[in-house]
């Protein structure tokens, strides 16, 4: 007579093997996906070959002349919300794919644009706030800064400021 335990084990083996095959197939899919992405996508650094400069701008009535880098970073992450001279800080960002934003983010916020976006996703979905508005062009940023007395933004070095003031970063 056959041992029923043996029969049960024998039945389980093919099932287990099938699961392992599926797991291997998924792992292979993972590796293939990664390889395909690496091959298909151009290196990120290649997109920023030209030197980029930017200026931090504020409303003409803002009395500040210089700004600490840390204060600027905390303002754009909305950790600090008030100017030292009073009034609410209203930061404004460029769109995530802007090279100016990339440069500003790396140098002032000291995080990549993607890391900053992750930060804002955490804030948004945990109910702790909303990110600054993202505008499409330097001109729109200048327009916003001129309209809002508490505004702070950044634009490329050759943008016409139309009266907006530049802050020196310390």
């Amino acid at each position: 007579m056959m041992d029923p335990t043996c029969t049960s084990t024998a039945r389980k083996r093919p099932r287990r093997a099938a699961v392992e095959v599926r797991a291997l197939a998924l792992c292979a899919l993972m590796v293939l996906t990664f390889t395909a992405w690496c091959v298909a996508s151009p290196p990120v650094l290649a997109q920023t070959a030209r030197p980029i400069d930017y200026r931090i701008i504020v409303h003409p009535k803002n009395p500040m002349v210089t700004i600490e880098r840390e204060f600027a970073a905390q303002s754009f992450l909305k950790k600090v919300t008030s100017w030292n001279h009073g009034g609410v800080i209203r930061p404004v960002d460029l769109s995530p794919d802007s090279p100016i934003r990339r440069k500003f983010s790396e140098e002032v916020v000291r995080r990549s644009v993607s890391a900053v976006r992750s930060y804002w996703l955490q804030v948004i979905f945990s109910g702790r706030g909303v990110p600054p508005p993202e505008l499409q062009s330097d001109d729109e940023v200048v327009h916003y800064v001129l309209r809002e007395p508490g505004a702070i933004g950044y634009v490329s070095g050759h943008t016409e400021l139309r009266g907006a003031r530049t802050l020196l970063v310390q």
């Binding site: 998924l26 993972m30 992405w37 000291r110 996703l121 979905f125 508005p133 729109e140 327009h143």
Partner: protein, 452 residues
């Protein structure tokens, strides 16, 4: 009687929060549509809506009209196209922020079922949420998030108010929130169910258990918070909260019947020091809460029924380290959670103390804007005073790949090597006891999330 009232109140409380949330969402949505139909006068002057007739010369915007115009620099005259694109600014008092996400996951495990019937592969791993946030004033904000999920036998798409708050920020160093608030415990508790806001599919389960979401994630009450700059020593962020939890009562095992269940309090705090080294945060979290449960045990005639009460005060603490600079993330947390189980049966009572140990180390590096791999090791010990049998610990080594396919869509692939059976549920494994389940097992996750 008091307990009955508490139970009834608890039921009403949860429903009440849902009703308040729905009302708030309708009000917010109403505000949004009202703005669309009737723009404020100031906006209308400089920002004509698309399709409207543009003024011949939009009036220049004076930040302070009382000052003489001569000393004002000439304000920009935006083109109609510029203005239309830029409107509405999020900081506008009438703007409503709407964000949401939809996730679909897949779980496949070897050896044991985990979170669902995962040995044969399970798609019961979904999340959906939407939130509305509105600034009523420069310093006053309200918001609500609705959330539903299905994770094996948990959730079943029952919609819940995830958070609901009224937030007034007096100054950077002092703000006040009230409502149903996510609990700031550790680095990532508040985003435990937000796939788009983290690298791995599963956060380290030793510290952020996904199945205890209802207990740990949010509390209903108030919170004080603030951010203090201390140059050149960095900055301090503090959050103090207190309130209660509205959670489902435990299921009584026959012959016991549940008489009452309440959470008399939950309170805690988190202090984070942002060090002068960019991206380095150090901090600690503490939380204290208590569960009071009463059961009735039917007596054998002529003995009357007796009452069993179980009171469990919990004390949870966690130390946190995070270095997040440029594209690198390194995080580690260590904590111990202590529970004193006070059982009273008639005149007799006893106290059993259980101390968990929980820690993890995680690293992730964003190789490119679309590819973000990470790895972590996590260990959970249920009772540090018991022998280290397989059912008393759970070690987890995870490798995760996050692919940001577009700015609003991501895919994650993640593999775990598990050692130990503490995190497993016998009910999902044909009732097999944890000390018999397979000690070494694996689990694979695939998850995709769309968000905006």
């Amino acid at each position: 009687m008091r307990s009955d009232r508490v139970l009834r109140r608890t039921g009403r409380g949860a429903g009440g929060i849902a009703r308040i949330g729905l009302t708030l969402a309708l009000v917010l949505a109403g505000g949004a549509s009202a703005r669309a139909e009737q723009p404020p006068a100031e906006s209308a002057a400089v920002e004509p809506a698309p399709g409207e007739t543009a003024p011949v010369e939009p009036a220049p915007v004076e930040p302070e009209p009382t000052k003489p115009a001569a000393v004002e620099p000439a304000p920009a005259k935006p083109s109609l196209e510029e203005s239309a694109r830029a409107r509405p600014f999020r900081d506008s008092p009438l703007a409503v922020e709407v964000h949401g996400f939809v996730s679909q996951g897949f779980i496949l495990s070897s050896g044991n079922n985990y979170l669902g019937n995962s040995k044969r592969g399970s798609f019961e791993f979904n999340e959906v949420g939407i939130n509305f946030t509105k600034g009523l004033h420069d310093r006053l904000r309200v918001g609500v998030q609705f959330f539903a999920r299905d994770l094996g036998a948990v959730g079943n798409y029952a919609p819940k108010v995830d958070w609901l708050y009224l937030d007034y920020r007096f100054a950077d160093w002092l703000g006040l929130r009230a409502g149903r608030l996510k609990a700031p415990f550790g680095l990532y508790n508040e985003v435990n169910d937000i796939d788009s806001a983290r690298v791995p599919v599963l956060l380290p389960q030793s510290v952020y258990p996904i199945l205890n979401r209802d207990i740990l994630l949010a509390q209903t009450g108030g919170e004080l918070y603030g951010y203090l700059r201390m140059p050149p020593a960095g900055a301090l962020e503090y959050r103090l909260y207190g309130g209660t939890l509205f959670i489902d009562p435990p299921v009584a095992q026959p012959p016991l019947s549940l008489k009452s269940f309440q959470v008399p309090y939950v309170f805690g705090g988190r202090l984070m020091w942002e060090t002068p080294l960019d991206g380095l945060r150090l901090g600690g979290s503490v939380q204290q809460l208590r569960f009071d449960t009463a059961y009735t045990l039917p007596g054998m005639p002529p003995m009357p029924p007796s009452e069993i009460t179980i009171g469990i005060p919990f004390v949870l603490w966690l130390g946190s380290f995070e270095y997040a600079a440029h594209d690198l993330l390194v995080a580690a947390e260590y904590g111990r959670w202590k529970a004193d189980v006070e059982t009273t049966i008639g005149p007799a009572s006893k106290v059993d103390t259980v101390v968990n140990e929980r820690y993890y180390v995680m690293a992730a590096y964003r190789v490119s804007p679309w590819f973000y791999p990470g790895v972590y090791y996590s260990r959970l010990v249920e009772n540090v005073d018991k022998p280290m049998h397989r059912d008393n610990y759970q070690n987890d080594l995870a490798l995760t790949f996050r692919f940001d396919l577009t700015t609003h869509w991501l895919l994650k692939l993640e593999g775990h090597y598990m050692n130990g059976t503490l995190d497993l549920a016998p009910a999902l494994n044909d009732g097999t006891a944890k000390n018999v389940l397979k000690r070494d097992w694996g689990v694979f996750f695939a998850k995709t999330t769309a968000y905006f």
